[in-house]
Symmetry: C2
Subunit: 429 residues, 2 copies
């Protein structure tokens, strides 16, 4: 029974009249000649294009009016259910792939084009056959959530699972994860599992496979290569690097941020180059220092979510800060302006918060650059009020670190010490 | 009485032994030869450097140990108090310089090196003598605040002052402003004064004149050139463009953000090139479209600050959103994750807010890129709950726009219409 998922109107007619269906391998001749597998279509489908998965891992959308010739090379034979487990090659290193959900695990099947709402880690592995040439990949699903629905309890589940494998013979561990909150998760793992002996990489995809130019396969391949070849540890985010080529970037998990809603190259290291760049078979190291500043692996997987992130702006109502204080929050991370400022209208509430022994940390809504609270009067006033400048920590990372610090200490002086100790490259110099 | 402000230890001795003081014009020979004016030093002063203001407007810090020769060319004669009003050249266009405070107006005197905590607009004009060659500059102080202390009432004061000059013979108006919240102010003026007949530019400086490489003079000169030469209207932010040269960038006031705490090139147009680039005497236009989409100037200088900016993150406590609803906020601008998502834990509160007729707008904490709420389940759920996707509006701009919209309408449907109407290039396509 041929499949035409997502094709409508003229594009559906075009496929049927050429005896082509989703999953078939075809050669298409237009301005250029393309060979690949017909993919299903989902969101925003018009009826003017068909989508082809190229052997590079990229999908392209082709306008049917510009195609001169279409030739079927192979008919889709197997569905995903009939996939055989890949043969292991005992000479290859072992990698563990843990799935938590997200785009990368949701609408992805690179061979047949079939899409399941939840793709297991094993299917993810099987659907990118290139992976089996680099490593023997074991797979496990931890849970399946789009990352906007990931909450700190999920971080704990992932951390606990990783602890189970801290003494394994894996070269490294891939965590397939939605991109929306990936850098929050990577930050938590960086602190909670500081010193973890083998590298951990979080991998996602910005575009699902039913859209042109999906990046899922390339990101997974890049991550696997990194784990197998780089003899280092740390927590990393591996994603597409830029629009123009097939470069993959490997970012420190505490220095990275999603800086674009939709681009494949949305993830950027703040204030520097990515830690590693993966181009084809070469891995280029850009950082000198190790990721973990703490060398001994002593997991601390506790957290306390009573931390508020307060982004200051003109017109911010200090009564809102007052509510935060009254609600029993134990730490406030400010996203101040510029070098780390908040307006004078906030001072009374800040005094009150300090009096209640709430940890008060300052980051900047500029995102890039270091906090500098001794330069201007305002900064010095805020230091006097008990606000702690958090160097160049990214606001979201400071938030997660504060949750983790609160989970591991009740003592305000100790919390301050933890916040200012560079544990996992969250501060750079 | 010679002045040595900020010089201590060896650098003070160096100046004294060479009979040089702050304000003197000197020639220094080291690896290179520099001529300029000795500047005072303030924050973080070591005793190894002296600071020289070059004729380009830049300051440089020079290590005294590396200087081979120092020669005094002129002794500082006049103090700022004895400045004469510059002669007007009737053939030059007129520009108005309004001062509101900030670094640019606080520690700046480019000729003598004398520093006053509050420099008036007139002194600012007099202290950059290059300005008088480009335009006849009238000056006025509106108020004097570091921009972290600027509140929406200040926006109204600036807007009212600008209305007074809407029928003047000025080529354009410069607003000297602190950099911390400059893009909030530029956004408010863009909406409130949509269609304003002559160009308005906000100018600041990232580094005060007592530090090496101050950018104040160059930014002011660039702004004046822009106002005199560009026959356009709109609200712009003019700041240093990059680290490597003397390029000045002119940004649309609704598409710009301070993206670094300290770099001179901190200001960036989000998702595109700056509207104009000013290199030496050339002004290059990068945008095709006019800034204002509204052509007729009908000022609407009302606002209502009952808008909350809610940056969603894993572990965000929905009870905080609940408090915002109960406190009587009339609009909430979400900084969602990715394409515009917030977690399921928030849905009940969002429903409640929608039921209370609170305007709910979605922007992204990615900052760059467009909101896309039809791509994933979560986005579609949130649309159903009444959240309005705000295209690619920068979160801070959406916040200011919502304050302004609430000030001009009580009707929720009308507010929604205002928020989605592209008034001053706040959305780009």
């Amino acid at each position: 029974m041929p499949e035409y998922t997502g094709y409508v109107g003229r594009s559906l007619e075009f496929l049927k009249s050429n005896d082509i269906a989703v999953g078939d391998t075809v050669k298409l001749v237009g301005d250029l000649t393309y060979s690949g597998i017909i993919m299903p279509r989902y969101e925003h489908s018009d009826d003017k294009h068909i989508v082809l998965k190229l052997s590079s891992g990229y999908n392209v959308g082709l306008e049917i009016d510009k195609l001169e010739k279409i030739e079927k090379l192979f008919t889709s034979g197997k569905s995903i259910d009939t996939f055989q487990k890949l043969e292991e090659n005992p000479s290859l290193p072992k990698v563990l792939l843990l799935s938590t959900g997200g785009t990368i695990a949701s609408k992805v099947d690179y061979r047949t084009g079939a899409v399941t709402p939840i793709l297991t880690a094993e299917e993810l592995n099987l659907s990118v056959p290139e992976l089996a040439k680099i490593a023997n990949i074991d797979t496990e699903v931890i849970f399946s959530e789009y990352s906007e629905n990931i909450v700190p309890d999920h971080w704990l589940q992932i951390a606990k699972k990783l602890i189970e494998y801290s003494n394994s013979d894996y070269s490294g561990i891939i965590i397939a994860h939605g991109t929306d909150t990936m850098h929050y998760t990577s930050s938590f793992l960086s602190f909670a599992l500081a010193g973890y002996p083998i590298p951990i990489v979080l991998v996602g995809s910005q575009r699902s496979s039913d859209r042109a130019s999906s990046d899922a396969a390339l990101n997974l391949i890049g991550a696997t290569k990194f784990l197998v070849e780089c003899k280092t540890n740390g927590v990393y985010v591996i994603m597409h690097h830029n629009e123009s080529d097939e470069t993959i970037a490997c970012h420190f998990g505490t220095r990275v941020r999603k800086n674009h809603t939709s681009k494949r190259s949305a993830f950027q290291t703040i204030g520097g180059d990515p830690a590693y760049i993966i181009i084809n078979n070469k891995i280029q190291r850009n950082v000198k220092d190790d990721f973990f500043k703490v060398k001994e692996f002593k997991p601390k997987i506790n957290l306390d979510t009573k931390v508020a992130l307060v982004k200051y702006h003109p017109g911010y109502d200090p009564r809102l800060l007052d509510k935060i204080i009254d609600m029993g929050f134990k730490a406030i991370i400010f996203e101040g302006t510029g070098l780390g400022h908040i307006g004078k209208t906030m001072y009374d509430c800040v005094k009150k918060a300090h009096g209640k022994n709430i940890f008060l940390g300052m980051t900047s809504q500029c995102i890039d650059g270091r906090i500098g609270m001794t330069v201007y009067e305002s900064g010095r006033d805020l230091l006097d009020l008990g606000i702690i400048p958090l160097e160049n920590m990214i606001p979201e990372v400071a938030l997660v670190k504060a949750m983790w610090a609160l989970g591991n200490s009740q003592n305000n002086e100790e919390i301050k010490k933890i916040m200012l100790e560079n544990i996992a490259s969250e501060m750079s110099y």
